[in-house]
């Protein structure tokens, strides 16, 4: 290559750099377009493949459910206009008329049946939605817009469970997951139509102008996957996205004062708590001060658990570590959700009382304890646990804090390993009812119960009350039973609640996001403020 052509090349390169740097080269997004920065990875467009909330979040744009959950996770009509129990084991659902799928075909009871058949069928599902449809033992199509479900036993949670199951077209009963990802089978009745899914990058949808409900304000929505917190905030500040979810606590104060950004927030359905091994006679991480495992598990004693709870300064954690994005918790689901008891207040910070309880329980000098938790799962999970450690030290318990990536922690701390003695975990009530944490966290481990009871807490009274609630179709009675069950479990300190998370969204000025307790980020809930 001679000198001349080098110069030409260099010139071309410089010209290219300048044209790239030209601010006008990037066209502004159309006023009808919305770009959203999502904080978690979406693994499939198939709404039945993986029971994972980021996936369901995206599916909510394209598909409808028989019953919807509103911002507070209250049940509202979706593709079913009304539903009632005819007797204890029979439910009747009236379906919405005149609803069309994105391909123009009509929605009828056959599509519901096809969906019920598809849910347990999906091959290679790492976590199936079967758990929400298995209560249905038989169905009966009364007419194309009336369907009845039979359950083996009284099952009041059927409407709640069905509010998580997306309805697909009967044409796609046997469609494999891949057909949804490439769009062939991604046909729903939802407010948006599927356009494109680029794994690890973005999902694009356009408005369904034939939607039966309130039509979204946006002709096109792009959901970008920006899992890094700082990058997501930067994208909002730069105006590349107009809405971000999961605003990190560290940026909250800064964004609040930014004139280009508006924040919206709501108390979420997630509780962060400490699960305590109250099952084993000897627990691996409760030791004497020299490090030898204690012959008796001190955590089996409710007084010791109460002492640990009293030792925690919850307001300090919520204010300082969570930067105000949490409220101290006294139960397993924040007030206002179905079945949560207004009587349950957060345990007051009382190290003196805690020491007294330890002395009563026979540990006047405390003992040694290692507490475990994840460091990449919940906002500030590691920092919270590191604050709890010294609080336990203050009442004479020599505490070591160990945190790990969720990948390691989850498989060690859960069934069947149960490797830890006291661990920090979180629980989001997907159904918006206290029955969800009660059933999974506090009921004795057994079939359909105690699936995430990592402390293997067991209390006959809690089991009895919860079982009763789970068989009571009458809402008012069930509400009361759930409250009672939680009160019993909390008086016994079946687990130690720390705080309820506050979900925060950030939008560009001029837009409003209607915040949701279930952490979902929906293009339908974004509107222009004026």
């Amino acid at each position: 290559m001679n000198r001349m052509s080098w110069r030409v090349l260099a010139g071309a390169f410089a010209a290219a750099m300048i044209s790239i740097a030209n601010p006008f080269a990037i066209g502004p997004a159309g006023a009808q377009d919305l770009t959203i920065g999502l904080g978690a990875n979406v693994t499939s467009i198939d709404p039945h493949f993986h029971n994972l909330s980021p996936n369901s979040n995206v599916a909510t744009h394209i598909f409808d459910k028989l019953i919807d959950q509103d911002e507070q996770q209250k049940l509202v009509p979706g593709l079913a206009t009304e539903w009632k129990s005819l007797d204890d084991t029979t439910w009747e659902f009236k379906l919405r008329r005149g609803v069309k799928f994105h391909d123009g075909s009509d929605f009828t009871a056959d599509d519901v049946v096809a969906t019920l058949k598809r849910v347990p069928w999906v091959p290679n599902s790492p976590s199936s939605f079967r758990i929400y449809t298995q209560a249905i033992t038989a169905h009966e199509i009364v007419d194309p817009f009336t369907i009845r479900f039979k359950t083996a036993a009284p099952y009041p949670l059927l409407p709640t469970d069905l509010s998580t199951v997306f309805i697909v077209s009967k044409k796609n009963e046997q469609a494999p997951t891949g057909d949804f990802n490439n769009g062939k089978a991604a046909i729903g009745t939802g407010p948006f139509k599927f356009v494109e899914y680029v794994p690890g990058d973005r999902i694009v949808v356009t408005r369904n102008d034939a939607y039966w409900g309130k039509k979204p304000e946006w002709a096109k929505a792009t959901l970008k996957l920006i899992t890094n917190n700082s990058a997501r905030v930067a994208a909002l500040l730069a105006g590349d996205v107009q809405l971000i979810e999961a605003v990190p606590a560290t940026d909250y104060a800064k964004l609040k004062t930014n004139a280009n950004v508006a924040l919206s927030q709501i108390v979420g359905n997630r509780v962060i708590y400490l699960h305590v091994d109250s099952y084993r006679d000897q627990t691996p991480f409760a030791t004497d001060k020299a490090g030898a495992v204690l012959p008796n598990n001190p955590l089996k004693d409710a007084r010791v658990r109460k002492a640990l709870s009293k030792a925690i300064n919850r307001p300090a954690i919520s204010e300082r570590i969570m930067e105000g994005l949490a409220i101290p918790a006294g139960g397993v689901l924040a007030e206002g959700f179905f079945g949560s008891s207004p009587k349950l207040k957060p345990e007051a910070y009382d190290p003196e009382g805690a020491r007294k309880l330890l002395t009563e329980a026979g540990y006047p000098n405390g003992f040694g304890l290692t507490i475990h938790g994840p460091n990449d799962r919940y906002p500030n999970d590691e920092k919270v646990l590191q604050a709890v450690g010294p609080m336990f030290n203050r009442i004479g318990i020599d505490t070591k804090v160990v945190t790990q990536p969720w990948a390691t922690f989850a498989s060690q701390g859960s069934a069947p390993n149960y490797a830890y003695s006291l661990m920090l975990v979180g629980w989001g009530a997907g159904t918006g009812e206290v029955s969800s944490p009660l059933r999974s966290l506090l009921m004795t481990v057994g079939p359909g119960r105690g699936g995430s009871n990592r402390g293997r807490y067991s209390n006959a009274k809690v089991d009895e009350l919860t079982n009763q609630a789970l068989a009571t179709v009458d809402d008012a009675k069930r509400d009361k039973l759930l409250q009672e069950a939680t009160e019993v479990a909390m008086a016994d300190v079946g687990l130690i609640p720390l705080h309820y998370q506050i979900n925060v969204w950030g939008t560009r000025k001029g837009l409003t996001y209607k915040p949701r307790a279930d952490e979902y980020t929906l293009a339908m809930s974004v509107s222009r403020s004026n």
């Binding site: 790239i20 693994t43 790492p126 990948a407």
Partner: protein, 325 residues
């Protein structure tokens, strides 16, 4: 040369087998993927169903043999999380990563080599000193931080460039790339510069060292005595000689750029392979982890092979058949 290549390929096969075993056992030791993948609402029955569906109910050696059997048919298993063939998943992300690595490499070479050569040619000039000081910064500043600073300055404050993601793609000669659209170039610039910074410093320092060393050589004195212009001495004769170490290092660094640009891809939400491997490790998505590492190892082997061959072309003294490595 043929013997050399065959020997190399045989070594590669052994490395691949050993590595697949290590990864298999390693991921197995980290934990049970179903504990992460399964919905927290699930009960024991659902857990057992998921374990069976993912083939995790069999003993580890049986799972490994099953994997090896599949690998011989070109099937490296299906991702637990995406339900797609692991290899397809990786190849889908490969173009994004390749274009980022390529753009970074171009920047590193076309900026780093001239700067380094100048610094080596006039070591005492203040400009050269500034270049060398700058290269120290390039080495020592964490990629993560630099990336965020670049976003803050160029995307947030100045609003010149987009902050995240990959731009529009177009298909040229059957290859789909974002390097040919203005939007795509605008998107790739910040991450490419971010990724290039470290390599740029490295190339710059190598070029400077090579320059200084070669300027003292006899052939330079001879060329000058012959009356060649300084430009010709530097651009032709010295340049050729400093290329040899540069090619070796650049080749190895290219592998690193492709396989381990995790940080840059995360900061800029670039949908490449680096992000895929991190997500897969977090989800214990073993088929993807194994397939990814197999692809990476193969890639390194071929890059090294190409470097060795290129080396023998650049330096006639090197004979490939003599190389025992």
């Amino acid at each position: 040369m043929t013997v050399f290549i065959i020997r190399r390929l045989m070594q590669t096969a052994i490395v691949l087998v050993v590595m697949s075993m290590i990864v298999f056992v390693g991921v197995f030791a980290i934990g049970d993927p179903t504990a992460i993948l399964i919905s927290a609402d699930s009960d024991m029955i659902e857990r057992e169903r998921a374990i069976a569906a993912l083939g995790l109910d069999k003993p580890l050696w049986e799972q490994y043999l099953y994997f090896v059997g599949g690998a011989f048919r070109g099937d490296l298993g299906k991702s637990f999380v995406f339900n797609m063939p692991a290899l397809q998943l990786i190849l889908q992300r490969l173009p994004a990563t390749l274009e980022l690595a390529f753009a970074a490499l171009v920047i590193a070479i076309f900026v780093g080599v001239p700067l380094g050569m100048y610094a080596g040619y006039r070591p005492e000039s203040p400009v050269s000193k500034a270049i060398m000081a700058g290269s120290i910064l390039g080495f020592s500043l964490p990629t993560f931080w630099v990336g965020l600073m670049m976003i803050m300055v160029f995307a947030v404050q100045l609003g010149w460039l987009p902050s995240t993601g990959r731009g529009h793609t177009a298909t040229v000669f059957g290859v789909t790339t974002s390097l040919v659209t203005p939007d795509g170039l605008a998107h790739v610039l910040l991450p490419a510069v971010n990724l290039a910074l470290l390599k740029l410093s490295l190339v710059c320092r190598l070029a400077r060292a090579g320059m200084r060393e070669n300027m003292l050589m006899d052939y330079v004195k001879f060329a000058r005595a012959k009356g060649l212009t300084a430009r010709r001495v530097v651009m032709v004769h010295v340049f050729k000689n400093i290329l040899i170490p540069l090619v070796t290092v650049t080749g190895l660094e290219l592998g690193n750029l492709i396989a381990f640009s995790v940080v840059t891809e995360t900061v800029f939400a670039w949908p490449g392979m680096g992000k895929l491997i991190i997500d897969s490790i977090n989800n214990l998505d073993r088929p993807v982890i194994v397939a990814y590492l197999l692809v990476t190892v193969s890639m390194f082997v071929f890059i090294n092979l190409a470097v060795d061959i290129l080396y023998s072309v650049l330096d006639p003294r090197v004979r490939l058949s003599e190389a025992k490595g």
